[in-house]
């Protein structure tokens, strides 16, 4: 199974892997959702959607469908 932002638990972090470029909206990249950057999950709303993350200093909330597209490298110590 691929490990994505949607699989993080509260407070967990991961590093963004290369992703299929055409699926992610450009806006996310512009906010710092770039390969190599760190993502921290801050809060998940009930029903697991939306997901509130801190990526590269930007605090944003995105929907689960999008979060599932952002593949992560777990940070050592987790998983």
């Amino acid at each position: 199974m691929v490990f994505t932002v949607a699989h993080l638990k509260r407070g967990e972090k991961g590093i963004i892997k290369e992703f299929r470029q055409d699926v992610l909206p450009i806006k996310l990249l512009e906010l710092g959702c770039l390969p190599g950057n760190q993502v921290e999950l801050i809060q998940i709303a009930p029903l697991k959607d939306p997901i509130y993350i801190n990526v590269n200093g930007s605090h944003i909330a995105i929907r689960r469908s999008v979060a599932l597209q952002i593949e992560l490298e777990p940070i050592a110590g987790h998983e």
Partner: protein, 744 residues
């Protein structure tokens, strides 16, 4: 020699552009800590030294030149059109010191368009708090620009910014990056196809539509015949561009920007834990709403009573000062009372705007969006629809505008269509007066019945909008792309200056807007009420006098006269005994008969007046629509008030005041007047059944021309506002009908 300078404030959402605008121009407008508060451009004037004037343009925030929603495209379209009258001489890129990296992305793009740019780094007051330090001179050199470090909160750095604006001609115009490296051969072909055009600008124009729903966008694309790449390919290049820019920015920031994590403090984490909690988050949201409505009701009662008294006194004064007549009645009872009927709601409306401004300023609104998004989606709405729905409780017009940051066209359209169901402040006057008439006083668990009724009406408004959204979601077939993202800004202590100006400005425009309509409508109504063409109207005096001579006074008038006489006899003998029986009893008898004669003329005059009213133009119109409104429990007078309310709801009270004053010369408040109205069978006209029916009608009907006009503008077609008008009015009629028939 002075030349005016055109300055555009551009930047990411929520970086303080509007605050800078306010500080520079002194011309205040709404500021809020919710991304997307400014949805349209605004212009203000700023005086620089030596008589130079700067026209400052405040624009909606955008994360980059690749727009994904309507509010963002406002700024980009301006920058791409060199011939636009607003095209800036200089761009001030306002950025937030805490998010500098992301803010610089937009800055480098604007710089690459070769527009002279100043980097304004705002929120400098947060630097110590967050442990941030900057090397400004070095950054200026690396970015090849001029930087102003400022704080609108602490009012520092503004003068420096003004000086930089004044000397805009000295700004370096060169670009930051050479964009063509992302695909050299493509850019080379581009250059050959459009010689003399700026390459980066071409690129931005070509990619404009890639991320955007084609439906809500004017077509920039049409002028560019050079599109040989597919959307996916272009998007790939855009990704490349973004990565390139971030590499560049990271390189610069490494040398000039540092954060001491040890020193960084903040409430964000702690507050977020509670405010976005699965259970407490919703609980807190609900309690906040409850508090707001209870406060609106409780805190405003004192100032409202005061205003009521003042207007009653004013109308009395007019009556006593001007020569008596119908025209004086119009001023005293129609205009003054009508305006009073609006002014009295200033306290409540101001409180409402005050609370909404605080929610936006503090950063809480984004948390609400986060909490509500999933819950709203089954109804075809987005979490972002919650903000328009809440600010719709103040007024639907700004609420419809506030939908512009919803990226998904279908979600946005549905939000626009259902926003007018929320209880806007124009409904308050109607609700409050009817609640006062038909809902008994008394308390349930510390909350008054009247406040509870009002609260239920608000909930009903929300419920109606949600349900309507659900239905529209099922039936509307609209193609749209979906991407949702909301920024969660830092929590901020509200800038009271901003809150204050918001409240003043919004309240003022409400009162003026409503005041004008009321004035116009009361004059028209007065004219229609005091003119007529039928014989009955012209001969009213004769007809009524004859009828009274034959049949005597009407039961109503008789009751009125005997009431007054009783009152008089009840007080009279007491006075005499107090005087020591010096007044002969014959005098009492005398004054009694004088009074009786007096009262008789008065009621006859009144009967003539109301007979005339019934046969005037307005009476005819009222009678004409009466069959339609009778099943709802209204008489023709209320029918007229409901009809005029289709211009704007708040004219209801004023309309009734005008109609009643034409047909009546008693000095009384509108409320007393309304409670004294009786039906043909002598029962009060306003009872629980007709009151509830009226409130429901106002809850659902689309009675606001301004909102319809805005919806037309925002959806770019008459189809949607007409649909809205139709379905809302049908729902209103049917529920009011059901309620009246069940309750009576």
């Amino acid at each position: 020699m002075s030349k005016d300078i055109k300055v555009a404030l551009i930047g990411n959402p929520n970086t303080g552009k509007t605050s800078v605008f306010n500080t520079l121009t002194g011309l205040k407008q709404k500021v809020g800590n919710y991304p997307g508060i400014t949805v349209e451009k605004k212009i203000g004037l700023c005086k620089l030294s030596r008589g130079v004037k700067a026209h400052i343009l405040d624009l909606p925030g955008t994360y980059s030149l690749n727009t994904t929603s309507l509010d963002e495209s406002v700024a980009v379209e301006l920058l791409l059109n060199k011939n636009a009258p607003d095209f800036p001489d200089v761009a001030v890129v306002v950025s937030d010191v805490e998010n500098l990296k992301r803010n610089l992305l937009l800055f480098t793009q604007i710089k690459d368009l070769k527009i002279p740019s100043i980097l304004a780094i705002n929120m400098a007051d947060r630097m110590d708090y967050k442990g941030i330090s900057l090397d400004i001179p070095k950054m200026e050199k690396l970015l090849n620009t001029k930087i102003a470090l400022l704080s609108t909160r602490k009012n520092t750095g503004i003068e420096e910014l003004k000086t930089l604006i004044e000397k805009y001609k000295e700004l370096p115009k060169s670009e930051n990056l050479d964009i063509s490296v992302i695909d050299p051969s493509y850019f080379k072909r581009l250059k050959n196809a459009f010689p003399g055009e700026d390459l980066y600008k071409l690129w931005v124009v070509i990619t404009q539509d890639v991320n955007f729903t084609p439906l809500d966008k004017k077509d920039i694309q049409s002028q560019s015949p050079f599109e040989i790449k597919s959307g996916a390919e272009l998007k790939r290049l855009q990704h490349k561009e973004t990565i390139l820019r971030y590499q560049y920015i990271n390189g610069i920031l490494k040398e000039t920007y540092s954060v001491d994590r040890q020193a960084a403090k903040g409430w964000r984490a702690g507050l977020d834990k509670i405010l976005t909690h699965k259970i407490f988050g919703y609980l807190i949201f609900f309690v906040i709403l409850l508090t707001i409505f209870q406060a609106i009701y409780d805190w405003s009662s004192v100032p409202m009573d005061f205003i009521d008294e003042q207007f009653a006194a004013a109308s009395e004064w007019v009556k006593n000062t001007l020569p008596p007549g119908v025209f004086t009645n119009l001023i005293a009872e129609g205009v003054v009372a009508g305006i009073g009927g609006i002014v009295i709601f200033i306290p409540q409306i101001a409180f409402l705007f005050f609370f909404i401004a605080i929610l936006e300023e503090s950063g809480y609104m984004s948390r609400v969006v986060f909490l509500m998004d999933r819950l709203m989606r089954p109804f075809g709405l987005s979490g972002k629809s919650v903000v328009p729905l809440i600010s719709g409780t103040a007024c639907a017009i700004p609420a419809v505008m506030a939908t512009r940051n919803i990226e998904n066209w279908k979600e946005r359209l549905i939000t626009i269509l259902v926003v007018p169901f929320t209880t806007c402040s124009a409904r308050l006057p109607v609700y409050l007066i009817i609640i006062a008439l038909v809902i008994p006083e008394g308390r349930l668990m510390g909350l008054s019945y009247q406040a509870l009724t009002l609260m239920s009406l608000y909930l009903l408004g929300f419920a109606a909008s949600i349900l309507a959204a659900k239905v529209l979601h099922q039936i509307l077939k609209v193609r749209s792309r979906s991407f949702f993202m909301v920024e969660m800004p830092n929590y901020k202590w509200p800038l009271w200056k901003n809150v204050f100006y918001t409240v003043v400005e919004k309240t003022k425009s409400f009162v003026y807007g409503a005041g004008k309509i009321i004035l116009a409508i009361s004059i028209v109504l007065w004219f229609l009420g005091s003119n007529g063409f039928s014989d009955e109207f012209k001969n009213a005096e004769q007809i009524v006098t004859e009828r009274v001579a034959q049949e005597g006074l009407s039961p109503n008038s008789q009751a009125f006269v005997s009431n007054k006489l009783e009152e008089f006899t009840a007080t009279m003998p007491m006075n005499i005994t107090a005087d020591g029986s010096l007044t002969p009893s014959a005098a009492v008898q005398d004054s009694l008969s004088i009074l009786q004669a007096d009262l008789r003329t008065r009621v006859i005059n009144q009967e003539i007046a109301s007979y005339r009213l019934e046969h005037s133009f307005i009476g005819k119109m009222g009678k004409f629509i009466e069959p339609v409104v009778r099943p709802l429990g209204y008489d023709w007078k209320i029918g007229i008030a409901v009809l005029t309310s289709f211009a704007a709801r708040e004219v209801f009270v004023g309309t009734l005041a005008t109609i009643y004053s034409v047909g009546n010369d008693e000095e009384e408040t509108i409320k007393n007047r309304m409670s004294a109205e009786v039906k043909a069978d002598g029962q009060p006209l306003f009872n629980l059944a007709s009151g509830v029916s009226l409130m429901l009608f106002y809850a659902f009907a689309m009675q606001c021309m301004s909102t319809l006009a805005i919806v037309k503008r925002e959806t770019n077609s008459w189809k949607w506002p007409l649909l809205q008008l139709g379905f809302m009015t049908i729902i209103a009629y049917l529920t009011a009908l059901t309620a009246y028939q069940l309750l009576s």
